[in-house]
């Protein structure tokens, strides 16, 4: 169900709920790569992505998906990564993106 607020709409599955618990897989993902918490979804990673030229690969989105609990979708999208590391070089928050993607594609 979609709620209407002043012309904006928020899908229920995407509404922010700070009380909800993280799925166990996600908890372990964040534990093994703590730097993922630092991601602010700025989009630098997607701007430089080598795989992004050819496929729908945007790392910050994977992370957003993970936070929203869309794990299945995230794993599918992570498979496009080439692990080249350009995103990591351009990340202003120092996220170990290559390690994170490896973990994500394993979930």
């Amino acid at each position: 169900m979609t709620k209407q607020y002043f012309g904006f709409s928020v899908l229920e599955q995407r509404s922010v709920n700070l009380d909800s618990e993280m799925p166990a897989e996600l908890e372990s993902l964040y534990q093994k790569e703590p730097s993922l918490r630092a991601c602010i979804a700025c989009g630098n990673c997607a701007a430089v992505c080598s795989a992004g030229h050819f496929a729908e690969m945007q790392f910050y989105r994977l992370n957003v998906m993970a936070r929203r609990g869309l794990l299945h979708e995230m794993v599918g999208k992570a498979a496009a990564c080439m692990l080249c590391g350009r995103c990591q070089m351009s990340c202003p928050r120092g996220v170990n993106i290559r390690h994170a993607v490896l973990m994500m594609s394993q979930l």
Partner: protein, 612 residues
């Protein structure tokens, strides 16, 4: 055969027999893990010169430790006096019993405890030689022991900054080992003091300490203690790092027989088992590691291999490492830690599935011939300055080129291989191979050492591959690019993948030497430090990487260079973000030193041109 016996020899005999039994069982299990191809190799190479070469290598490396000498002479001497000294004692003991009994075959304990059974020996002048030889060998081992002891107390005395922190089991084995030789000295001295005889050490110590009648009761307990420490050491050997003593010899043999490592991570099977157990945790890799004392947990090769040996959790150790290759290149045993780590990573990320089926076809049907096929790689696209400079240099040298990954490049696959997912880079490899092979070029030049290593090792391209530093040096040698030396000072940073990875040290240095003064750096060539951002490292936090970068920069900028020069876009970018000295790529430097005024051509040149 002389048969003499005393119950005190039992601890030694039992310990030795147990060690042999355990070693046999373990070796048989490991050898059974060899692939059938490897077994064939052993059968075909067994009776060849390779076996002889292996024996020579065993003498040079397992006994005299020549490779350690090259790294650190004091440490080499310590290892040599322990290993070679002990070997001399064993050989000498055998010769001694043979000489005195006239019988080659004697019971083992008779040779080991010879002086207890035969305190006073006499004979021709050979007797003096024998006594002196045995005492000398013992002195040699004791010297090594004193050095080893000094190293424990103050490692800097032995020229080491870091030494391995040993696990409790290894410490116990070490204690037994340390007791063996002083006890032997005192036991022999006690016998000499009571019964006469002895050499330059034992006779003297005997007459000082064990001459009195009261000291007679000391003799047997000392022999007992000597035998017990020997026995306990032998029992501990197959379960501690001292397993490297026999295993390294087998490893050398296997290598000389051309055994190839089995695929996958199997530290208890085949060649990998011998490799893992040949590591002596000597700690030489620690000082070489650019990431030593960085991070929460020590992940250096010595600790990683020990973890693998002890079957403990090594995931973090395997994924934190930068894979810069320093440890592998300095390891005196030649353990291929790099490969072991990659195998472990494949094991860790075995469930990761990547698919690059979205890549379009890259076959080129026809193209005019071009001289240079340029591939700048992923990192190159984030570093356009290098690419622009290199293209300008190609124009200066009047070479035609095609930049194949100008718009949308695909990764070469090396980063994926470094993460242990070698098999999953196939589609990327196919894409790039088709792209490059279709260009009808003469040479592939890449500005990225990571791509360079992978193209040369894993790709099967139809044209030769060169790194841009090699190519630029070729152009300078041919005179297609000319530069005068200027008043500039450079410090060159060896990228891991180009230096240790591909063995290319000279070309970039030769280019820089033409442009100005090339400063020597404290750690360079095969000892160069990593920039801190090698793609091998997966889980090392950003803050730790920055510490490594800072260390490397401190070494590079020590002699106050005008520029820090690298020939890797990744190194350049990583160093540049923290450096106070300007960091540039080799191509950029070469372009910037281009003379502004073109020299007036010499008369003969003009004349020739006119005459054409």
């Amino acid at each position: 055969m002389v048969s003499k016996f005393h119950p005190f020899v039992l601890p030694f005999s039992i310990g030795f027999a147990l060690m042999l039994a355990v070693l046999t069982v373990r070796y048989v299990i490991w050898l059974r893990g060899l692939s059938s191809d490897n077994r064939k190799r052993i059968r075909s190479k067994f009776f060849t010169v390779n076996t002889w070469k292996a024996l020579v290598e065993i003498f040079r490396e397992s006994l005299v430790h020549l490779k350690i000498y090259k790294v650190n002479p004091m440490l080499g001497f310590m290892h040599m006096s322990l290993a070679f000294g002990w070997f001399l004692l064993i050989v000498g003991g055998k010769l001694e019993t043979w000489y005195y009994t006239g019988d080659f075959a004697n019971e083992m304990h008779y040779a080991i405890f010879f002086r207890y059974f035969e305190p006073v020996t006499s004979g021709f002048w050979m007797n003096g030689v024998m006594v002196f030889f045995m005492e000398f060998a013992l002195l040699m081992v004791l010297t090594g022991l004193i050095l080893a002891f000094a190293k424990r107390i103050r490692k800097k005395l032995m020229g080491m900054q870091n030494t391995t922190r040993h696990s409790p089991g290894n410490r116990i084995a070490l204690t037994f080992l340390w007791f063996i030789f002083p006890l032997r000295l005192f036991a022999e001295s006690a016998t000499a003091g009571q019964h006469g005889g002895g050499g330059f050490m034992t006779a003297r110590i005997g007459s000082w300490l064990f001459n009195s009648a009261g000291a007679a009761s000391w003799e047997l307990p000392l022999w007992w203690a000597y035998s017990i420490s020997l026995g306990l050491f032998f029992i501990a050997l197959p379960f501690s790092r001292y397993l490297h003593i026999p295993t390294e010899m087998v490893l050398i043999l296997l290598r000389r027989w051309g055994i190839e490592p089995e695929k996958g991570f199997n530290p208890n099977k085949g060649l990998q088992a011998f490799e893992v157990h040949s590591c002596s945790s000597c700690g030489i890799c620690l000082d070489a590691c650019p990431a030593i004392n960085i991070g929460q947990e020590a992940f250096q090769a010595s600790y990683f291999v020990r973890g693998v040996r002890e079957n403990s959790e090594v995931e973090a150790k395997a994924t934190s490492c930068l894979s810069c290759g320093s440890c592998t290149s300095i390891c005196p045993v030649g353990v291929d830690v790099e490969q072991l780590r990659l195998d472990k990573r494949s094991d860790i990320f075995s469930k990761a599935r990547f698919s690059h089926s979205y890549l379009p076809g890259s076959m080129t049907l026809w193209r005019d011939t071009t001289e240079v096929v340029l591939f700048t790689g992923c990192m190159g696209r984030s570093n356009p300055k290098t690419t622009v400079a290199f293209k300008a240099l190609l124009k200066e040298a009047r070479l035609s080129f095609v930049h194949v990954d100008e718009k949308d490049g695909v990764c070469c696959g090396r980063p994926m291989a470094l993460a242990g997912a070698l098999d999953q880079s196939l589609m990327m490899k196919e894409y790039n191979s088709n792209l490059i092979n279709g260009q009808n070029g003469q040479v592939l030049v890449t500005t990225c050492p990571i791509c360079f290593k992978y193209f040369t090792e894993e790709y099967n391209l139809n044209i030769p591959v060169m790194h841009h530093s090699q190519f630029l040096w070729e152009l300078m040698k041919k005179g297609k690019i000319k530069r005068d030396s200027r008043d500039l000072k450079f410090a060159y940073h060896d990228p891991c993948e180009l230096g240790r990875g591909s063995g290319c040290y000279e070309p970039p240095r030769s280019v820089l030497a033409q442009l100005g003064e090339l400063l020597s750096v404290d750690k360079e060539r095969d000892k160069a430090l990593c920039c801190g951002n090698n793609l091998g490292s997966l889980s090392l936090p950003e803050s730790d990487r920055r510490q490594i970068t800072a260390r490397t920069l401190a070494v590079l900028s020590a002699n106050e260079p005008d520029y820090i020069v690298s020939s890797c876009p990744l190194c350049k970018q990583t160093l540049a973000r923290q450096s106070s000295v300007e960091v540039k790529d080799l191509a950029e430097i070469l372009l910037e030193t281009k003379p502004l005024r073109v020299k007036v051509p010499s008369y003969s040149y003009v004349h020739q041109e006119a005459g054409r």
